[in-house]
């Protein structure tokens, strides 16, 4: 399985659309795409997970890493379009309490 990472830049806002599966094999590709953006000062990243069919804990590691980096650079990090299964992963790990998670893609995204 594979993943496609589609990055759209609108002013200082980055909308990252992910499609496919996030696991140990695809996580490095995701990390390579996200990290350079997450290190920018005051960046606003919105990650759309609507078309992510599967994610294991490796993917979680990538998002936490990116989140920490964005926070360190005074940016904003938002996840949208999480399926119930993904949402549960963020709830269990306590990440839902520190990361901004919106379950639908409404507001800000077309």
């Amino acid at each position: 399985m594979n993943i496609t990472v589609d990055v759209n830049e609108l002013n200082t806002e980055f909308i990252v659309k992910l499609k496919g599966e996030i696991d140990a094999y695809t996580a490095p590709k995701l990390r390579e795409s996200l990290f350079p953006i997450s290190e920018r000062e005051n960046v606003k990243i919105i990650i759309d997970l609507t078309e992510v069919s599967y994610m294991d804990s490796t993917g979680l590691g990538v998002f936490v890493g990116a989140f920490k980096s964005v926070r360190a650079n005074n940016g904003e990090f938002t996840l949208v379009g999480l399926s119930e299964r993904l949402r549960r992963l963020f709830d269990i790990t306590g990440l839902a309490d520190i990361i901004d998670i919106k379950s639908s893609t409404e507001g800000g995204l077309e």
Binding site: A24, R31, D56, S57, T58, L60, G61, V62, V64, G65, K68, R85, I92, T93, G94, L95, D97, I98
Partner: protein
């Protein structure tokens, strides 16, 4: 070299037989020779040279141009010979790496070994199986001087060797915790500081820690983002999630963990697991937590250790014996 001379003779025999009578049987000899050539490291260009010499011996009147063409073919095959030798050398290196990883896995196994305590009021079963050679899951038992049993189960986010190395650190951090009573929330708080401080920023650990006090049959526990276990209440015959909220280890060094308490009655069970158990993926998708409860129920009459062994075997079978993630399951069964 004996082998080589021997091979030349065999080649000559097989070739002449085939040229005399082009049948399947003779052709099959060619396949057998090919395997022998590989076994004795004979390169493609050597085979062509062998072919050429044999052909001259068999047909001294062979046109000179045909003989010369073999020298050209030999030149062309040179690249394949080099590729083949590279392949051999890589195979050798791969074998070496495999052996080294096996040794590392054994070392890790010894390092992380934990003894299952033997106490009157509790029956304990535990199993941990890595998906690949090294395990990124870890469980730990400790009995303190008041006969309280501490149980820790942890899972590094990530798989394979890096995860396994990281886990060894958790084990040493646990061993160096102060000797006094292991309060679950303070255990997690100190481990969180260790992980935050020492581990690669993109590596995180989920962990559950519980402490069972046999004097008042009280189980206290706390969780750092770990997959919730189950609690079986013998009085009502029902299972419920062993819910506990808390952030994974290594994200924020100031994280505080909430401690939960549960009174354990005779016949009750505490089931702890890693996400390798719930993320078990079959042809029909993921197994549901209800399915897992079904397996637990089916094996409930057994000893705790037999229970975890059986459940593992059944889930392994459902995944066609191919674990996708490290698998750890612990069952604490309170004796009546």
């Amino acid at each position: 070299m004996d082998n080589r001379e021997n091979m030349e003779k065999k080649y000559l025999e097989a070739l002449s037989t085939y040229l005399k009578d082009q049948n399947e049987q003779a052709l099959y000899q060619g396949q057998k020779i090919s395997r022998l050539h590989i076994k004795y490291n004979i390169s493609p260009e050597e085979i062509i040279s062998m072919h050429k010499n044999n052909l001259i011996d068999l047909y001294p009147d062979l046109p000179e141009k045909v003989v010369d063409s073999f020298d050209f073919l030999l030149e062309v095959m040179m690249g394949y010979g080099i590729a083949y030798r590279e392949h051999q050398s890589l195979r050798h290196q791969q074998q070496e790496l495999k052996t080294e990883i096996e040794i590392a896995a054994n070392v890790q196994h010894t390092l992380l070994e934990t003894e299952i305590p033997d106490i009157k009021s509790l029956e304990i079963g535990a199993i941990s199986v890595p998906a690949r050679q090294m395990n990124g899951d870890y469980y730990h038992f400790v009995e303190d001087e008041n006969e309280c049993i501490g149980v820790g189960i942890a899972d590094v986010i990530g798989k394979g060797i890096p995860a396994a190395l990281c886990m060894s650190m958790i084990k040493y951090a646990m061993d160096s915790l102060p000797e006094h009573r292991h309060e679950p929330n303070s255990v997690l708080e100190s481990l969180n500081r260790v992980v935050e401080h020492n581990v690669d920023p993109s590596m995180f650990i989920t962990m559950f820690y519980g402490l069972y006090d046999p004097h008042n049959r009280q189980f206290s526990y706390a969780s750092a983002g770990h997959e919730p276990g189950f609690y079986y209440d013998a009085a009502t015959g029902t299972f419920s999630d062993l819910d506990a909220k808390g952030l994974l280890l290594g994200v924020d060094k100031k994280t505080r963990y909430r401690q939960y308490e549960k009174k354990v009655n005779g016949g009750d069970m505490i089931i702890l697991l890693s996400d390798g158990v719930t993320e078990c993926r079959t042809n029909d998708g993921f197994i549901e937590r209800e399915t897992l409860i079904g397996f637990i129920k089916k094996n409930m009459h057994l000893q705790a250790q037999e229970m975890v062994n059986n459940i593992y075997k059944q889930l392994e079978k459902m995944q066609n014996f191919q674990l996708r993630d490290d698998f750890t399951l612990i069952i604490l069964k309170s004796k009546v």
